[in-house]
Structure formats: structure tokens, C-alpha cells
């Protein structure tokens, strides 16, 4: 139990250090490992890379597990155009995007 807590703490310190190095080198934030990447075409299509799973799939809302946070895409006629191991494309009228951390 104590060991797990120690590992978690160690990981978070390592991530913070990595983040510092990336910001010091002025590299894009996408260079960080396990970083989610969004690409939107208007409000009709969004491509997500680095998703860890679908939490809720509905016509009006799609909620995705992004590791550290949960992203909710709200809108009309939402559907998943393509789903692969680490990426997916959402289609439809996207009204709002919400992040829960």
C-alpha cells in the first residue's frame, strides 16, 4: 500500500520534470508522452488521439476517458466515424466540449 503511494508520487514528480524540460526547450506540448491531441474541422468533426476508452456513447453526448481527465462532447446526431486502438473520429453537430479533471 505504502509502496504504491510511493510509486504514484514518483511518477508525478517525473512527469512534472518532463513538463519542465519540454517548456524550457520550447517544444510543443504534444511532444509529451501520453498527451491527448485534438483536431477539429469546424464543429462537424473532431479527431482525438490518445483516448483511453469510451465512457458514454449517445446521440447527444460522447464522454471519453483521457487518462487524467474526462472530455465530454455535447451536440446533435453525434456518431463515431472510426474507432481504433488509440484514436477516434467523432462526427455530428458539436455544441460544446467539457473537460473534467
Amino acid at each position: 500500500m505504502f509502496r504504491k503511494k510511493k510509486d504514484k508520487c514518483h511518477n508525478s514528480v517525473r512527469r512534472e520534470k518532463l513538463h519542465d524540460i519540454v517548456s524550457d526547450l520550447q517544444l510543443p506540448a504534444g511532444a509529451l508522452p501520453n498527451c491527448t491531441h485534438f483536431e477539429m474541422n469546424g464543429n462537424r468533426e473532431v479527431m482525438i488521439e490518445g483516448s483511453r476508452g469510451i465512457l458514454q456513447y449517445d446521440e447527444n453526448i460522447i464522454r471519453l476517458n483521457m487518462g487524467k481527465m474526462i472530455a465530454s462532447f455535447c451536440g446533435r446526431n453525434l456518431s463515431i466515424k472510426c474507432l481504433t486502438q488509440d484514436s477516434l473520429i467523432i462526427e455530428g453537430f458539436i455544441k460544446s466540449i467539457e473537460f473534467i479533471t
Binding site: G53, I54, Q56, Y57, K81, C82, L83
Partner: protein, 391 residues
């Protein structure tokens, strides 16, 4: 492209029913199975997946307590499976492509573009003499050699190109415009009269005029002398050049018999049909060539696809029987006919000549209508004649 790949590999549209279909999707993506066109209608999820990956979905569905069912099957593997037992169909398809490939190795049409004075049939016959005709193996055609041979065989071709596009051999050529034959300007010559007449005006560019305006000249008379004597009495030989306009007279006579023989059709017809495919004649009717007084009309029908002539030609021969019948013309009809013939003769014989006036004499004598027309014209009668000078 993506659709084509999906069609080639085949894909399945299936429905997934369960309390938590999202878990089924997550597990599937974790196992590396990709979905596309995912739709949720009510509590049922409709997905498409590559046909080969569908089998591995069953275990995932069991794990996630989801029921999956195939709704639609699309793509080439399913089409092949459907017609698996119909071997004849596959053999037919293979044969079709094999024949298509085999036929594409040969020349099936020859197009000749740019012929005005040259008869395209002459070029075709030359090509066939060289071994290039319909049904020739494409690899055996030496285009460069053909181009050189055709260029050498016809003097009036200035440019020629032979290309093989698909099964069509196209010959594109440009005819040469022949320059008029002129006595070279550096060669000495005289100017003589081409016909009898009375000179009305002269335009002398070079040489010594031997005649004056108003003089009557006869055919072959020297008009402009090429040997010019200067003020010192020295002779020099020049290239005489002039335009000599004279009043000339042309007499044309046309006789037409009042009793004419005409070919009248009896109404008897024989039709023969044949098909020429790939250089082989195939008779479509078993009718021999009729004997007697028959005239033949041939109607050649070429089959065209996308503006390309196929090597299949349909020949329709119509043989019409006729008999000779005598017809008597009235005097007016005979004179009119004589005038029509004369008009045609004027167009060919008195071309580029200015006609000033004409005198007509029409009469009917001994069963013939005779029309005499005398044309008074103005024309250039100057003709250059090379001087044979020996040093």
C-alpha cells in the same frame, strides 16, 4: 480509396446489444480491432468491421455481456463466396480477361488523318504490303521503318507520324504544297505567245519588246526578246519577263443527238450482304452475282465505338437490273443539254480567262442539236521559253 480497400477486404455491419456496449467497444479497441461507421440507435449499437476481424469479436462480446449479430455483409470476399460453386462463371471471367488481353496485342483499326490529294487507300495498301494490316501483331510493327518507307514512297508528304494507341494505328500526315514550275530567274529566256490574238496592253518587267499594242500575233510568236542590245551595240542575254494581255477568240462546239439511249431500271433487284471481320470475309446471304445488265451499289457500314472504328465492316451490295431504252429529245431539250455540257467545259477549259462577249449559234441538223459558241476574251498570252545558250 478507403472504400475500395474496404470493398476488397470485405466488411460486416453488425449490431451489438447489451447493458453497456461502450465496454465492448473499449475492449475491442484494446485488442486492436478497429470499427467504423459506429451508430447508436436506441440501446442498439451498429458498427462496421473488417470481415476477418469479426470472429475475434465473439470472445470480447462474451466478456462484455453483449450480443452481437451480423446485419449486412459487403465486399469482394462475400461475392466470391456467393459464386464459389459456379465455376463456369469464374472461368468465363478469366476467359474474358484473357481474350481481352490477347486481342489487345493486335492492331484492329488503322486511321489515316490529313489526306487531301493522296488517297488514303494507297497508304493502306502500302502498309499492308509492308505487312501491317488489321490483325497484325503490335510488337512486329516497326514504326520508324514504316514512317521512312511511306515518306519515301510518296513525294508529296512533307511530314508523317505513325503511332500505336491501344489497338489503333494512327497515321497522321501533312501534304506538301508543290511550288509552280517557273523558269529560274538566273536562266535566260524569251517570252512567246501562247495563243493567237490582238495585243491590248503589255507589262514588260525584263527584256526587249518585239511587238506593240494593237499588233496581231499568232501562237508561238516571239513577244519579248531575251537578247537585249544596249546603246553601244553590245548584246546581253537576259531573263525576259512580261505580262502580255491580248484579245483572243475561243470557239467551242457541242453536238447532242436527238435520240438518246437511256438505262432504265426494270425493277429487278438482288441484294447481297457480307461481313468483314478481322480481315476475313463472311457471306451473310447465299446469293450468286447476277448475270446480265446489272449495276452495283455498295453500302459500307462501319461500326464505331467512342469514335473508333471497329475491325468489323458490313457490306450491302444492291444489284439493279437495267435495260437500254431509246428516248427522243425535243429540239429545245437537246439544245439545253448541249448548253449544260458547254457550261461544264467552260469551267474547266476557260478557267482564269476574262470573257468579254460571246456569240451563239444554235441549230438542229441531221438529227443533232449543234451549239457553236465563240468567246471573245482577254487573257495573258505570255509564256516563258528557256533559251538554249552555248558558250
Amino acid at each position: 480509396m478507403l472504400k475500395l480497400l474496404r470493398f476488397l477486404f470485405g466488411y460486416v455491419v453488425f449490431s451489438a446489444k447489451g447493458s453497456f456496449p461502450e465496454r465492448f467497444m473499449n475492449l475491442s479497441s484494446k485488442y486492436g480491432i478497429s470499427f467504423f461507421d459506429v451508430e447508436k440507435k436506441g440501446k442498439v449499437l451498429y458498427c462496421s468491421v473488417v470481415a476477418s476481424e469479426y470472429k475475434s469479436l465473439r470472445t470480447i462480446a462474451k466478456k462484455s455481456y453483449t450480443k452481437i449479430k451480423i446485419k449486412e455483409k459487403h465486399g469482394l470476399p462475400f461475392i466470391i463466396k456467393k459464386y464459389k460453386n459456379r465455376k463456369g462463371l469464374f472461368i468465363g471471367v478469366i476467359c474474358f480477361f484473357a481474350i481481352l488481353y490477347f486481342l489487345s496485342l493486335y492492331v484492329w483499326s488503322i486511321d489515316i488523318v490529313g489526306c487531301n490529294e493522296i488517297n488514303s487507300e494507297d497508304i493502306k495498301s502500302l502498309l499492308s504490303d509492308m505487312g501491317v494490316s488489321l490483325g497484325t501483331f503490335k510488337k512486329e510493327v516497326d514504326v520508324n521503318m514504316l514512317e521512312k518507307t511511306v515518306m519515301n514512297s510518296f513525294d508529296n508528304i512533307s511530314w508523317l507520324s505513325i503511332n500505336i494507341k491501344g489497338t489503333n494505328l494512327s497515321v497522321e500526315l501533312k501534304e506538301r504544297i508543290k511550288p509552280p514550275e517557273i523558269v529560274p530567274k538566273d536562266k535566260p529566256c524569251n517570252v512567246r505567245a501562247a495563243s493567237d490574238g490582238q495585243i491590248i496592253r503589255m507589262e514588260v518587267y525584263n527584256g526587249n519588246a518585239e511587238v506593240n499594242n494593237g499588233d496581231a500575233v499568232v501562237k508561238g510568236q516571239l513577244l519579248i526578246n531575251g537578247i537585249v542590245e544596249d546603246s553601244f551595240g553590245c548584246n546581253s542575254i537576259k531573263h525576259a519577263d512580261a505580262k502580255v494581255f491580248a484579245l483572243t477568240k475561243h470557239e467551242l462546239r457541242q453536238e447532242v443527238d436527238l435520240i438518246q439511249t437511256e438505262d432504265l431500271e426494270t425493277g429487278k433487284r438482288v441484294i447481297r450482304k457480307r461481313l468483314k471481320a478481322f480481315g476475313v470475309d463472311l457471306p451473310l446471304t447465299i446469293v450468286p452475282i447476277p448475270k446480265g445488265n446489272y449495276k452495283r451499289d455498295i453500302n459500307i457500314g462501319e461500326i464505331k465505338v467512342f469514335n473508333k472504328t471497329l475491325p468489323i465492316t458490313h457490306y450491302r451490295e444492291e444489284w439493279r437490273e437495267y435495260e437500254k431504252a431509246k428516248k427522243t429529245l425535243t429540239n429545245d431539250q437537246a439544245i439545253k443539254m448541249a448548253h449544260d455540257i458547254l457550261n461544264n467545259r467552260i469551267e474547266s477549259e476557260l478557267k482564269e480567262i476574262k470573257i468579254l462577249r460571246e456569240e451563239k449559234n444554235e441549230r438542229v441538223k441531221d438529227g443533232k442539236a449543234i451549239v457553236d459558241i465563240t468567246y471573245y476574251c482577254e487573257e495573258n498570252i505570255a509564256v516563258q521559253e528557256e533559251l538554249d545558250v552555248k558558250e
